[in-house]
Symmetry: C2
Subunit: 242 residues, 2 copies
DNA sequence: GTTATTGATTTGTGATCACACTTGCTTTGA
DNA sequence: TCAAAGCAAGTGTGATCACAAATCAATAAC
């Protein structure tokens, strides 16, 4: 068999098969911890132990310690002087700090995206709006995890269009850092009454459709400010009580 | 001996002793690799091996692999599908991307710092200006490493005044990512002739002294744009030759 | 002479072990 | 009764080993 024929054959096979992608245990542990952090499954100030997580994830300590180290450098976790690690506690300064950074960077990302998104991409995020309404209509009881996931997908679908390989990892890091805080706020939200996230998302999509970068930035800032502002008030009122 | 006396005694001792601070091998390896990366000791596209670095740093592979993992999550290094790691190659898109991100975030940091710095802090960075001139006057031959270190100290001395615990790690990550690129540009600079970094730094300090946030931001952007613009031109001309 | 195959070396990954430090509880002494 | 010393369990860190995958060189086949 000639070489050309073999290569052609291989190409045909390659076109039909999807790459399996050798994923290491460390990567899975890292992704899992990320998911838990962004989703707010860990509480602020909660301490994590390597062996404890290794047991929970049914692996050895090795992949866990590597994943923890990575999360610490991203400031998603905090290394105490005792050499134990915890999820960073919530403080007023930290909330303001995170909101400012997120407004700055995610605002820039969406402003860039607004000038770059094609009609197909806009249609894609518009479709997610419908998904949101659908979820709301079907189930009366609020599925917070589902909402959080959908919210995340919506935002990153947009950010991916900004065309910056530098900004996106920074945004991921910011979500990682604000995840535990946000979740606290969301829980408080759902007690305090209804908030229409879909409304904010609609105004974002409207701005994107008009390719209005400034309007998109403002709509986004309004969207992400809500939980932070809520959490801020809550924290201040509890602080006054002490 | 009563408890109070003992405690008083301990306090006296504590006042005279400086904490030794248990530093792990992993931390030292990480700092060392950071220093090398920011200083541009590694070339873009250079591949690094765990065992190679472990031998060079005279430790086992364990601290090195952990440090490498951390640097990869910061995008300071790149994990190839072969599971080998290299310092990211320079591309035109990456240069523009990094410059935009740095202008945005470092610009915000210096704008915040401009409104917050007290006279003592301003005097401190002003003193670094003098240090720069001094270095220039004394030695005719250019000490690139010394200049780079001084430049880094100057910038971060200012950024530290912005009062954001979120922005500063992001800036560090950006310096880590642009370090290898910058160094290439600096080397080209020193061949191409003199550039007066001190001039740009003086205009930054002048803006800070006036508490003019906008002027400080613009002066900073002018300062950090230079090597990027230079590198950009150089890359475009070499690309045309091919 | 060029291409394919085989084998050796190198490299990353994960598991396990040894050691040092921390933490919390128990025991001891005043 | 209470505080301090001592002990034991738990935890992070680093070293070493085993294994699988990748890389490279040399040999064999056409």
């Amino acid at each position: 068999m000639q070489k050309a024929v073999i290569e052609k054959n291989n190409e045909t096979i390659a076109a039909q098969l999807t790459p399996v992608g050798r994923e290491t245990v460390q990567d899975r542990v890292y992704s899992e911890l990320r998911r838990a952090l962004i989703g707010g499954l860990f509480e602020p100030s909660q301490v994590l132990t390597i062996r404890g997580l290794a047991d929970a994830l049914v692996t050895s300590t090795m992949p866990v310690r590597e994943a923890l180290g990575r999360l610490i450098t991203e400031k998603a976790l905090e290394a105490l002087p005792n050499r134990s690690v915890r999820v960073p506690p919530i403080t007023l300064e930290r909330i303001d700090d995170l909101l400012r950074a997120r407004s700055l960077i995610e605002g820039e990302a969406i402003a860039l995206a607004a000038t770059r998104m094609n009609s197909r991409q806009i249609a894609s995020v518009e479709a997610m709006l419908g998904e949101w309404d659908e979820m709301r209509a079907l189930k009366h009881k609020k599925d917070i995890d589902r909402e959080a996931t959908l919210n995340q997908s919506f935002h990153f679908e947009i950010y991916r269009c900004c065309g910056s390989a530098v900004l996106i990892p920074m945004i991921e890091s910011l979500w990682l850092q604000s995840g535990p805080c946000i979740r606290v706020a969301i829980y408080a939200f759902s007690d305090a009454g209804e908030v229409d996230t879909a409304h904010y998302h609609r105004s974002i999509v409207a701005a994107l459709a008009k390719q209005d970068a400034q309007a998109a930035r403002e709509a986004l800032v309004a969207d992400i400010s809500r939980p932070f502002a809520f959490l801020r008030d809550k924290l201040q009122s509890t602080a006054r009580k002490d």
